[in-house]
């Protein structure tokens, strides 16, 4: 059910940023939005929209082993074609928890989602959720230093 080809279809290597140094969540989002813009996936308005949404409806998720990720995204009107961008962070950056917006999470991996249609992108969303629930893969992604290492970690995702 979960295959890496779904990542392959939506994850352009140019939108993968390993070992990013950023001082806050807005800086990470801006970087990923620039990459998505470069590959023609989002409109110029996407970065601002995602940062604004993160302030009121944050997307940090606490995982097993004290790993935390964030999945920033926004409304389809800012998206041209569906895609995924990813960053691993050299040092953790604070994102607020989706479940509890008063709680800071030390996030090490960020998946920025550019979604057009929830029914069309459901497989991508499920693949991401399945990956988040796979602690060994998340550990490998968090430790990856290169784009190739991130792609290799994603490819170990079981079907």
């Amino acid at each position: 059910m979960m295959s890496t080809s779904l990542f392959g279809r939506y994850l352009d290597p140019r939108a993968i940023c390993p070992r990013v140094t950023a001082s806050d969540s807005a800086e990470v989002i801006t970087l990923l939005a620039e990459r998505l813009r470069m590959i023609g996936s989002v409109k110029e308005s996407y970065a601002r929209a995602v940062i604004d949404r993160e302030a009121t409806m944050p997307t940090g998720l606490p995982l097993a082993d004290d790993v935390a990720v964030a999945v920033p995204h926004t409304d389809p009107e800012h998206v041209v074609t569906p895609a995924l961008a990813m960053a691993t962070l050299a040092t953790p950056v604070a994102f607020k928890s989706m479940e509890d917006p008063d709680r800071d999470l030390a996030v090490t991996v960020v998946f920025a989602l550019a979604l057009r249609d929830k029914n069309e992108q459901i497989e991508m969303l499920q693949t991401i959720a399945a990956t988040l629930q796979d602690a060994p893969i998340m550990r490998r992604i968090a430790e990856a230093a290169t784009v190739a290492e991130i792609l290799a970690a994603l490819e170990t995702k079981k079907t």
Binding site: P62, L63, E99, A129
Partner: protein
């Protein structure tokens, strides 16, 4: 025939996380023989839709003083505590 229980599945934008939750929830309840009818919405839309619902499952905080039970959980996204939350939901829907 028993009418399916209506579940509002909410998140921030009703586009990403609630879709993952809705699919997982449907699968898990089906496996337990519980028929459900899911409607996805934004958390801010819950009060206007709750009259027809039996339960709210949300990934983001819900408005206060809802007239129906509400469960806020990230378990369907992160896997943490998933078995427990599924049993809790099943118990509410069987009641």
């Amino acid at each position: 025939m028993i009418r399916p229980k209506r579940v509002l599945v909410a998140c921030g934008t009703a586009v990403a996380t609630s879709t993952v939750v809705a699919n997982a929830l449907e699968e898990e309840m089906k496996a337990r023989g519980i028929k459900i009818d899911i409607r996805q919405c934004k958390a801010t839309e819950i009060p206007s839709l709750i009259a027809d619902a039996d339960l709210v499952v949300s990934t983001t905080p819900v408005p206060p003083n809802l007239s129906k039970p509400a469960i806020v959980t990230l378990a369907f996204l992160t896997g943490l505590g998933k078995a427990e939350v599924i049993e809790k939901i099943a118990a509410i829907l069987r009641a």
